[in-house]
Symmetry: C2
Subunit: 233 residues, 2 copies
């Protein structure tokens, strides 16, 4: 929780900085939304509870955020804006190991994991949340791609390497366990995933091909012999 600022204490002295008071209100609302969704989950998230917790009027919440889904989406947008440490060890593999280690730590530490875990599940429950989730990860991929750009500059990777794709490759095995299969996440998984991504990147697997001969749509399988209801591995 942020410190309890009271935006209505100085109604006649609006902040000289644009968005100053508005930014404080938003920070309070985001903090209250995160706390509520962490403690109670999406199914029990209400505008009333966020209003009570943040000290911001319910009418204001409805007007600016629309409802719970807008609150969840904005909490994700606020998270995307927060800086996070990007490693710069001078070695792609080591940089990737630190990134996957960070994901591992955030999602396995009992202190840190509940809020981002609850926020991701909550975001999946609405179109607005899903759009914010997509944008959140896109922003993180873009930011983290800098480790690949540095590797290109050092001559470790060839020009035209898709840095965001390396980040996805390195982190996907962790998120797959956390949010799809539910299998336990081990430290070794984080290291292996980073090493595999670095290996694939150095082998040139993530260079953007100038032209893609295959259409980006599902090919038609003339004889699907899998039961349509069975998710595959």
């Amino acid at each position: 929780m942020s410190e309890p600022t009271h935006p209505d204490q100085h109604p006649r002295t609006p902040s000289p900085r644009p968005g100053g008071r508005s930014a404080r209100v938003r920070a309070d609302v985001v903090a209250a939304t995160l706390a509520e969704v962490t403690e109670k989950g999406y199914d029990s998230l209400t505008v009333e509870a966020v209003a009570a917790r943040s000290g911001v009027h319910k009418a204001t919440l409805y007007r600016r955020w629309g409802g719970v889904d807008g609150l969840v989406a904005d909490a994700l947008a606020a998270s995307a804006d927060q800086p996070w440490p990007l490693p710069d060890t001078g070695d792609l593999q080591e940089d990737l190991r630190r990134i996957t280690q960070e994901v591992f730590t955030v999602f396995t530490d009992p202190e840190q994991s509940p809020t981002p875990t609850a926020l991701i599940y909550a975001a999946q429950r609405s179109d607005a949340g899903a759009a914010a989730l997509r944008e959140f990860f896109a922003a993180r991929h873009r930011q983290a791609a800098e480790v690949a750009q540095r590797a290109v500059a050092r001559g470790e990777l060839s020009a035209g390497t898709d840095g965001a794709e390396i980040i996805r490759a390195a982190t996907a095995p962790l998120y797959y366990r956390l949010f799809v299969t539910g299998e336990p996440l081990e430290a070794r998984t984080a290291e292996r995933a980073a090493d595999a991504a670095a290996l694939a990147a150095r082998a040139g697997l993530f260079t953007s091909a100038p032209a893609d001969p295959e259409p980006d749509t599902a090919p038609t399988d003339p004889e699907p012999d899998t039961a349509p209801n069975a998710p595959t591995p």
Copy 2:
């Protein structure tokens, strides 16, 4: 949907095969659960609707499945029991490409994708569903690991290679987009993921280490400078 069998039509002629009538009831209930969850989603899934659709008495559903979460869990368990085609091309990389291509097709084909997608999201909504989801993927990983065992037998991979881990590595980038980031899934992603997993497997990244010097728990970060509420990439 399965054909509309009516388990109560022949109450005085129980099937001579053990579980014959019971198996038909289960197949009808699973089909009805899948149809309901696909059309209406978890939030609108009711035992009453599954009873009406399957022709199986509501009291029977409550007695044998407990409720909607038991129905979802059993639909997943039934999916896990269904056979699916395992490629055997004589080449690990090609086998993995076919596996990731299959996942790609199932989850991007408008005809095939709605049911497994809805089922996975529904399973995440309860402890019973999550346990069934974990078991479903564990079973699929075990089955698909056969492509790695064959590669070991051919001398393509060293003995002690963790086949399930290769399958996770190959498929995780697809499921990451589908169920975490929500980014569009492209055919090239499926091919790249298979190639990267094959490369890492051949480099020995997935051999089971005899002893793990690192504990499988989150290390304590003395100075966490990431905001705790911000999911990392």
